[in-house]
């Protein structure tokens, strides 16, 4: 066990866990920030996506000990009331079905648009290819990213 002070959504949060614990379990089971989801545990599905220093990362394979004082943003901290342009576009187009993967999709899309405000189809495919949606909402995800880019 070791003590970690994490900078999450602009707040310092303290946890006492094994240093190898994935950030995902720290967020979900220790800090009750459950918006990031567990899907595979091997960085294959993207459900656990959060931002570390603005970059979309899979928190399921990121040991808490490697985070240091980097800024972590989860879906809970992406916007005050769900009014991030990506979230608004998601609602505008009724993107989610079961919704389980969508927070990860939104975090990946938000990071994409942060770095590339007008991505091409190929750039969207490349950025979003690490996020699986079993309900098959991809067509709407793609439309929503373009809508958010134009907003």
């Amino acid at each position: 066990m070791a003590n970690f002070k994490l900078n999450i959504n602009g707040k310092i949060q303290e946890v006492d866990v094994d240093p190898n614990t994935p950030l995902l379990w720290v967020l979900r089971e220790h800090l009750n920030l459950v918006g990031a989801k567990y899907g595979c545990g091997i960085a294959q599905c993207g459900s656990c996506t959060v931002h570390v220093q603005g970059v979309a990362v899979r928190s399921c394979m990121l040991a808490v000990s490697t985070v240091g004082n980097q800024e972590i943003t989860t879906i809970e901290g992406l916007s005050e009331n769900g009014e991030h342009p990506v979230q608004e576009a998601w609602l505008e187009l009724d993107v989610p079905q079961c919704g389980y993967c969508q927070t990860g999709q939104i975090m990946t899309a938000a990071a994409l648009l942060e770095n590339n405000p007008n991505p091409s189809d190929e750039e969207i495919d490349m950025a979003m290819n690490g996020n699986i949606c079993r309900c098959g909402t991809y067509v709407r995800i793609k439309k929503a990213i373009k809508l958010a880019a134009n907003s």
Binding site: V17, W25, V34, G35, Y38, W90, Y100, Y138
Partner: protein
């Protein structure tokens, strides 16, 4: 609705708690339609009396400020029940939809069930695309009853005849122009002396619908974009411990744990719980439970699946298909043997389907807390419900069903997997041992794949007989596989006018766990049927659409979907070089015809689907945009399973373990467009969740035949298989 840290989940409640805690007035509508009661929510004694005397139904609650809460009796797994069912109620109640909130109803099928399979029975079971169809009459009638009570209360309050009142947008209106809002009516609500039964004639006509058939955003989507939507896996209770099981990947094998003392000495480990087929570990934290699971040294025994090799079994299936004796006859019209004996031409083909896995994004999990005395339990779970709405928990705990309170949560995908309670029962078993601590049982993705319950492997042998005019006179369909209905559904052809038809099932058993998977047997059987029709068309040099048009002559609704999709896909229009279109028809409650446009990379064998067009007749459409979403999702799931997905079994063991070796379709392989047209209809609504998925394999294989003259007859059409066929 942000999740507050460390606070008990709010969703889910016992019926009594709900009645006691609700503000305003709960409007109870008798299940029979005759027994109506209004009880002030502070009148707990009155509530108890009523609950004891009558099987009452509480569908709606109205507060004095006009907020209306409607209860959804079905699971929400992305298919939209959280909107479609309350919408039907609100439509008939004339509720102001902007003031409606939706919550899950308690899991009590006597009160909240729709008509079950047995006459007179009631069921809460979100399966088989039955929700909208089964609840359409229930929700509308209940909503109309609520409206009647509101109108009659206003009429009494004003001292005017009932006939002079009408309703609109949460107001009762008198012919004089006087109005009162539903909220303002709350203090005056009274139950009519003799509540009339509501008949079909008392319900709205389709042309008068104000909500049904319109674009209405889904109610729970804001919570699914800001991260606050609560799935069972998100629940954290005080004093909660974590349980994981090692089940191995040889289904049903018995474990012997060889290092119990070592595991028990690990950090945080609280208990080991043996199962017949698994070893359970309970620990203080999830990471401790998972670490201990990794260290388990288990010797596995044999199981009925031992020695089974899935990719070699097709040779056996072919031998079974060759046998003269027929299997279990599932449908027979005329005589296919007579038709064959006088046929001018006969075609026979085999179609094969490997196992596929559900891969719902939320791995299975449940949270159960058993009371210290062991006499009651609280269950939080994402479940498709079932004939036992208490999901097997009462039997495991040895307590009556009414002592088990199930708090239904959003499902992170169902697809049939969550219509099976194995994971809930495991959690109950461990929670009993750990009482009064709450137990969160988690399946890892590896558990979910390795101990999955798959869509069965199957072989379809089809034979089509033709007369000398090229008409199909006989069609026989022999299914070989494990799982009965799981392999046999969807093999009938009720919309193709073929005078002699036979469907038979020949069984096989392998000891591999099986379960309903979106569209069940339709996936494999529609693939076989639709490819067989194109085989006939190909051999006869006929247009596949013209062939189906002839077969659908007596099924105007099916034919209309064919004609519509031909139109929107520009079936006869010019195509880009290297592309072809294929067509496929499916009935699964609703009727749908799909057309896809594909190309194939002849170097890699990779098939690319560029466009998909669908025309669907689902009767009255409650939420048009959501039906389109179901078609889009169904096509994507179909493409994923048809192009990528394969579970293989070697010596009884599942060879795949996670998404790296069970690849799902990703963004880069999504078609440029999926276009759906909904056919206008005033027939009763039919399910739409399973109509698109089974049309994919046939449409792709038929387009491939047109493009290459070669046949894809084994799902999945992986690049390796496609390449082998192209080079054959």
């Amino acid at each position: 609705m942000k999740n507050d840290p460390k606070i008990l989940p709010e969703r889910g409640f016992t019926r009594r708690e709900f009645l006691k805690s609700s503000g305003g007035v709960a409007l109870f509508i008798g299940a029979s339609g005759l027994m109506s009661q209004l009880i002030s929510c502070s009148d707990t004694e009155g509530i108890k009396e009523q609950l004891e005397k009558h099987p009452i139904t509480a569908w709606v609650q109205i507060t004095e400020d006009g907020e209306i809460t409607i209860y959804n009796p079905a699971a929400e797994m992305g298919q939209g029940s959280m909107t479609s069912l309350p919408l039907l109620f609100a439509e008939e109640m004339d509720a102001d939809w902007s003031r409606v909130r939706v919550e899950f109803s308690p899991q009590e099928s006597d009160i909240y069930g729709s008509e079950g399979w047995a006459p007179g029975s009631k069921l809460m079971f979100t399966v088989g695309s039955r929700t909208t169809k089964a609840y359409y009459p229930v929700m509308r009638k209940a909503g109309a009853q609520a409206r009647y009570i509101l109108r009659s209360s206003a009429a009494d309050h004003w001292g005017v005849p009932l006939a002079e009142t009408s309703t609109k947008n949460s107001e009762v209106i008198h012919t004089s122009g006087k109005k009162i809002s539903y909220g303002d009516l709350v203090p005056y609500l009274t139950v009519p002396e003799d509540m009339p039964d509501i008949s079909e004639n008392d319900l709205k006509k389709q042309e008068d619908f104000e909500l049904v058939g319109k674009y209405i955003p889904r109610t729970e989507l804001p919570s699914k974009t800001d991260g606050s939507a609560q799935f069972a896996i998100d629940i954290i209770l005080p004093n909660m411990v974590y349980a994981v099981l090692e089940r191995g990947n040889l289904h049903g094998a018995s474990p012997t744990l060889l290092n119990e003392a070592e595991i028990l000495a690990m950090d945080g480990v609280l208990k080991l719980v043996p199962f017949d087929y698994a070893i359970g570990v309970v620990a203080k934290s999830l990471e401790q439970a998972l670490s201990a699971k990794k260290q388990l040294n288990i010797k596995w025994g044999d199981s009925p699946a031992s020695g089974f090799n899935s990719q070699e079994v097709y040779a056996t299936y072919e031998k079974i298909a060759n046998q003269a004796d027929k299997g279990r006859i599932l449908n027979e019209i005329g005589s296919v043997d007579n038709a064959a004996s006088i046929a001018a031409k006969s075609y026979t083909a085999d179609f094969k389907n490997d196992y596929v896995y559900h891969a719902q994004m939320e791995p299975l999990n449940a949270i159960i807390q058993v009371a210290e005395d062991g006499q009651s339990a609280e269950v939080w779970v994402g479940s498709q419900q079932g004939p036992d709405t208490k999901l097997g928990v009462p039997d495991i705990l040895g307590i009556p069903p009414e002592k088990v309170n199930v708090h239904l949560q959003y499902l992170g995908g169902g697809f049939g997997r969550r219509s099976m309670n194995d994971f809930v029962e495991e959690c109950a078993f461990i929670a009993k041992e750990m009482a009064p601590l709450a137990v969160k049982l988690m399946w890892t993705r590896e558990d979910d794949v390795g101990y999955g319950a798959f869509r069965p492997l199957s072989l379809q042998r089809l034979r089509a007989s033709l007369d000398n005019q090229g008409n199909i006179t006989g069609f026989s369909h022999c299914v070989i596989g494990d799982g009965g209905h799981l392999v046999a559904s969807g093999a009938r052809n009720d919309h193709y006018n073929i005078p002699n038809q036979l469907v038979e099932w020949r069984s096989a058993t392998h000891g591999v766990r099986l379960k309903h998977w979106r569209a069940v047997g339709h996936g494999a059987n529609k693939f076989a049927i639709e490819c067989m029709l194109d085989e006939v068309a190909f051999q006869q040099n006929m247009d596949p659409v013209a062939l189906r048009r002839k077969l659908m002559a007596n099924s105007p609704r099916a034919l209309a979907t064919l004609e519509k999709v031909v139109e929107i896909s520009n079936w006869n229009g010019p195509l880009k070089e290297g592309r072809a279109k294929g067509v496929s028809f499916v009935e699964h409650g609703s009727l749908g015809t799909g057309v896809c446009e594909i190309s194939v990379d002849r170097k890699t064998g990779k098939i690319r689907v560029h466009h998909f067009w669908i025309a669907v007749d689902a009767g009255v459409i409650v939420q048009p945009d959501n039906v389109k979403a179901q078609m889009e999702g169904g096509i994507i799931m179909g493409m994923s399973s048809v192009l990528n997905e394969q579970i293989t079994i070697k010596d009884g063991r599942v060879e795949q373990s996670n998404y790296h070796n069970y690849p799902l379709l990703r963004m880069q392989d999504v078609p440029d467009s999926i276009e759906t047209v909904l056919i206008d209809s005033n027939e009763i609504p039919e399910g739409v969740g399973e109509t698109a998925t089974p049309m994919v394999a046939g449409a792709i294989a038929n387009a491939f035949l047109k493009l290459t003259g070669k046949r894809l007859r084994h799902i999945p059409f992986t690049p390796e298989r496609v390449l082998a066929i192209l080079n054959s």
